[in-house]
Every structure is written in structure tokens, then in C-alpha cells.
Symmetry: C2
């Protein structure tokens, strides 16, 4: 494996649309959402370690999840866990990690990968990332993997690419935030739009240059810590300065303003597991087309449901279709699948009415 | 209080339509179904002890529930708990209890009362029973309390009474099993039909005469034990002979064939708490017309539901109307209220598929 290949796994999210399973104290990426025996972050780590040296895989997460990371990824050392003292979106933490990696290896190529996505064909994923790495080694480029859209999903961002080149690596014309339905339909009709999966590849040199040009204040803030990174004084520097960073996404900070952005269309089946409905899509179904995790079910006239319990509890359902049914010791959720975007808000209401402990 | 007044509380049922709360090992009558702080059998005992000496109240139940009875009714002695070694319907156990009471007090008047019904006006109940007792003292009569029907319920038996007498105690013309809807409607239109609540009153003399005439074999079987009743040899006799008794209801054994049957129309509001739906009717409702026991709820676009958890679990429901939602540690039931009669069958299926422990 190429010792210049690095990855950072983004594992600081709270997965609020997966409430009540995903909790502040135990978010989605640390759960075995698919019922495979591995948690999502474990699956992600395994997928990356096929072509990236394990010691070059960093986990970016919240301080609160440090123990969960070390417990679930025993091959990872504390030095590989990059802790954000505050929630500042993806921009600051990616910049911070890039500087740490640059200090260790100025020739590094970096992959940024979410910790909680589902990817079917891991060989294709490896090939795609390595193709992108080759391109990043030869060019000053910020790259993303684009997912070919299968329907006009209004929950994802889209990337428009230039069709003039024959190369598999296409220059990006623009990023588009979550569109409305008609716009999404027109994107698909045009044919040169892909979903933004939040998977980025670049050399540390290119990404740091992009930050320096587009976010000079933020860049300087973290650049000031260069002598401290990967030493005993790093924590002190970060705890003092991280809080001062602007809350900004990596897309907004560098991808959108940069001219050297490229996209490679992914050749693997992908799902962001962003909602209970997308998890439902990926799970095996019973004969009534219900997706069941852990529960023992007895269903009559009930189909299309996403059913999950903590253990092998018996769930009897009659006359209920396309519902999300999630049972925990202290919370039971019964919610229409088509309204799943509302679960985030439900979670907030539960927090307000019954307290933080339930969220 | 009149020392000749006796009662037997029928507490041997399993309440299978209240699954999964009512369990073989812990049936409905031993649960606080109404969330009042008292179990149904405790409420029944309190109601009767207003006008019947506590030591004259017998509990008829299954051997398996002996400890539950003594625990929930600490004022009751073991001698007052009459144990059925086998499930033989109401006929044999009422005959057995009547003989025991006759041996203790040949002048006894007896009330037979279910352990798991709801009665609002306890004063009216006392008055009605005492009126019936007065009638039974003067006449050779088998009496029942009839409930004035409020709608054409097809789940109850009906009693047709004779309208020719001006007396509040009316001769019964016939008992009618659960009718179909049109028949039930015609009963209500006729005006001289009441619901059979399974509440009976008679002198021990009259009820034993009725058994002797109409069920001579059964009568002789239990009469043979007369010298043993209320002595140390009683258990031995019962364990040997109870199993030989015919499985027959008291209605079929003596009420239907007898000519001296009378009914008094109850002057209290009554509910047999026979199903989750009837429990729903009796519980207070939240602002969305949901009946909630124990749970803390967050409901949106959801009304008419019967929601019960074991503790103060949070239940979030959206877009669900008229469902029974019952949550326990090991079982979750989500079932349409209008199909509640099917719960008995669901319980059997669960038993077959997952074992006795869940029923």
C-alpha cells in the first residue's frame, strides 16, 4: 500500500434523523444499523483499510465520542483520533487534519469519507479512489466522487460537470444545493448532474492552497498551530483556538469558490443512509416487504414498514403500511415513512418536553 | 352488615383479549388496568365489602393465582380462596362454592361477581344487590342484574324479561347468546332486553336446588364431598373429583333451564372491560382523544388510540388513528381497535410461534 495515501473519516455527526436509535451520546455511525454485526464506522474503516495503511486513517470526531471510536476501532491509536472541541461544521476540522497530515507527510494524498454511508461494491470504490488519487498526484485538483442519480432526490446536493472532456475525470461547472423536485428532474434529464456524496480527494498541498486562497482567516488560525501539531502541545493549542474558527462547510469554504474542482462518477452503488427510509431501501425484506432489524415479527396486512427493536422483542402489527416503527427501552416511535424528514423536529420537541437524555 | 350475605368473586379467567398485558401467569384482574392505583380484583373486593362482611367474600380462582390473590387482598384468608384444580367453566366452581357456603351457613344469600368489571356508581350497585337479596330471601329465585343496553352490542348475551309485572324484579323469559347486529338492534327496539353481566344472586338453598334438578350428575359429584368441605380433607376430595366435573357454564347449567329466573335492571353504569376498546371507553382522554396509561406521549395527527406502556416510556406517534398500542419489555402490539376481537387469536399464534412464555 502506498504510504502517501491518507484518509480522514468524518465521525462527528449526531444523525438526528435516525432518532431515537441515533442519540447525542451514541450516534448512528456507532450503531450496527444494517444488522450485519459491524457498526457503520467499523464498515467504513474496513473499506478504507483495503487500500490505505491503517495508521494513515484518521477519525475526526467530537470529544464525546473518543471512547466509542477507540472501543470500536481497536487498531486505531489515540494519535489518529482528531477531536473537535466544538461543532464547527466540516471546514475547520478538515483544514486542521490536513495540516497535521502535511506536517507528517508533505506528499500525502487525502481521502475525506463520511463514516456512515453504505457502499456495496468495495472493489469499485477502491478503484475509483485510486484513480482520483492518481489524478490529484499529477494535478492541482480538488476532487469529489459523484453518484449517478437514479431518481430526482430532493434531499441531496447535485454537482454539474463539464461534458466536453472525454476523460473520466470531469471538470465541475457548479455545485447545486438541495433542489426542488422540478429542478431535480431537469438535472436528471440534462444528464451531466451527479449527487454530491461528501467524498473528497486531494493532495494536502492542493487542499491547503485552496484554504489559503479562499479562507485566509481560517487558514491562518490553524496554520498558527503548525509547530504544535503532532506534539504534546497540540491539545492546548486546539482547545484555545478551535472555538474561534468560523462555522463553515468544506463545500462552501473551498469547493464552491475553487476553479480546479473535478468529479469522477462513482462505479459503485451508494446510499447515504441518511434517513430510516434510505436504510429501509438497503435492508433485506421479509415476505411482506417489511425491513426488520432484531425484532421477531408477526404481521398481518402490513407491508413496507421499517421495524427495529433493541433485542429480539416480539412485534405484532396489523393493518399498518409504510411506517417507521422503532422501539427502545425508553422511547417508542411510530411514524409514517413518507414524513421521515420530520423526525429531526420530533427529536427536538422530545428534547424540549422530556429532556436531553432522550435525544 | 348482614352475616347471611356472601359473595364469590370469579377470578379464574386469563383475559386473553387483553394480551399482551393480561398473561397466563398474570391475568387482567390482577392488573391496574384503569391506572387508578388498584387492580381490578382489589376494586371488586372493595366494592363488595361495602355491604358483605369481608370474611364472607370468597375468591374462586385457579391454583396458579393463589399467591397473587393473597398478595393483592391481604384481608382474605387462605380459607376464602377456593381453588379450581382444572378449568371447568363457571358451573362446577359455583356449585362447589355454594356447597361450602351452605355447610357454613344454610341461610346464606350469595352474590356471584366477576372480578374484572367496571362499575361507576357503587352505592347504586349495593342497593341493587340488596334489593335482589331481599327478593331471594322471600322467594325461590335465581336472580341476575341486567344492564340496560346503550347500543346493539354483539359481544354480550341478552336477557329478555316479562313486561307484565310492575315490580322492579322481572321474570326472565329467555336468555339469548351473543346476537348478530340486526338481532341486537331488534332487541333494543323491543325494549325488554338487557345485557347479561354475569352477576347472579340467590340463596344457597335455591341455587343448590337448581343444580340438583337440572344437573343431577354434577350435583351428586360435589354433594359427595359435603363432609370434607371446610375441613382438612377438602383438598384431597377436590383434587380427586374436580377433574370429573362436566365443563359447563352456570348460565347453561341452571339459568337457562330454570323457570324461576328473575332480572333486576341495574341502576349503575357498567362496563365489562372485556377488550382494549371497552377499556379505552372508560379511560380519561387526552386533548387528541387518546387514552394513555403510563406513557408520556407526543402525538401528531393521531386520535382515538389506546396507548399503554409498562412505565413512563416516551411514545411518539404520527398519523395513526383508532389503534391499540401496547408496549411491554418483550412484546409490542400495534393493532386496529376495530379488529380487537382478533387479539385472542393473535395471542394463540404468538404462543405457537414463540412459546408459552409470551402469553
Amino acid at each position: 500500500m502506498n504510504k502517501n495515501n491518507y484518509a480522514i473519516i468524518m465521525a462527528g455527526g449526531v444523525g438526528s434523523r435516525f432518532w431515537p436509535v441515533s442519540m447525542n451520546s451514541f450516534p448512528k455511525q456507532f450503531h450496527d444499523m444494517l444488522g450485519t454485526g459491524d457498526t457503520l464506522i467499523q464498515k467504513t474503516f474496513q473499506r478504507l483499510s483495503r487500500f490505505i495503511p491503517k495508521e494513515n486513517i484518521y477519525i475526526l470526531t467530537n470529544e464525546a465520542y473518543n471512547d466509542l471510536v477507540l472501543e470500536q476501532l481497536p487498531e486505531v491509536t489515540q494519535q489518529q483520533v482528531v477531536l473537535e472541541p466544538a461543532m464547527k461544521n466540516t471546514g475547520p476540522c478538515i483544514l486542521y487534519a490536513a495540516l497535521k497530515i502535511q506536517k507528517e507527510n508533505p506528499d500525502a494524498l487525502m481521502l475525506v469519507a463520511p463514516s456512515d454511508h453504505w457502499i456495496e461494491d468495495e472493489d469499485a470504490f477502491s478503484r475509483n479512489v485510486l484513480t482520483a488519487f492518481d489524478f490529484c498526484k499529477e494535478n492541482d485538483a480538488l476532487m469529489t466522487l459523484g453518484i449517478e442519480p437514479t431518481f430526482p432526490n430532493t434531499g441531496y446536493g447535485y454537482i454539474e460537470f463539464d461534458t466536453e472532456t472525454e476523460n473520466v475525470v470531469k471538470p465541475v461547472k457548479q455545485f447545486r444545493e438541495k433542489p426542488d423536485y422540478d429542478t431535480a428532474k431537469s438535472f436528471i434529464k440534462q444528464g451531466n448532474f451527479v449527487w454530491n456524496a461528501g467524498i473528497f480527494m486531494w493532495s494536502v498541498e492542493s487542499v491547503l492552497k485552496a484554504f489559503e486562497i479562499n479562507q485566509p482567516t481560517l487558514f491562518q488560525l490553524f496554520k498558527n498551530g503548525m509547530s504544535a501539531y503532532n506534539t504534546d502541545t497540540e491539545t492546548e493549542f486546539i482547545n484555545e483556538n478551535y472555538i474561534k474558527a468560523e462555522n463553515i462547510s468544506v463545500d462552501y469554504a473551498i469547493m464552491e469558490p475553487s476553479k480546479n474542482v473535478y468529479v469522477l462518477s462513482a462505479q459503485f452503488d451508494w446510499n447515504d443512509l441518511g434517513t430510516w427510509g434510505s436504510l429501509y431501501d438497503k435492508l433485506d425484506k421479509d415476505s411482506n416487504n417489511n425491513a426488520v432489524v432484531n425484532a421477531r415479527t408477526l404481521v398481518q396486512d402490513a407491508s413496507g414498514n421499517m421495524i427495529r427493536t433493541q433485542n429480539d422483542k416480539i412485534v405484532v402489527i396489523e393493518g399498518l403500511n409504510d411506517y417507521i416503527i422503532i422501539d427502545k427501552d425508553d422511547v417508542l416511535l411510530i411514524y409514517p415513512k413518507e414524513k421521515e424528514q420530520g423526525i429531526k423536529e420530533v427529536r427536538n420537541t422530545v428534547k424540549d418536553e422530556f429532556g436531553e437524555n432522550y435525544c
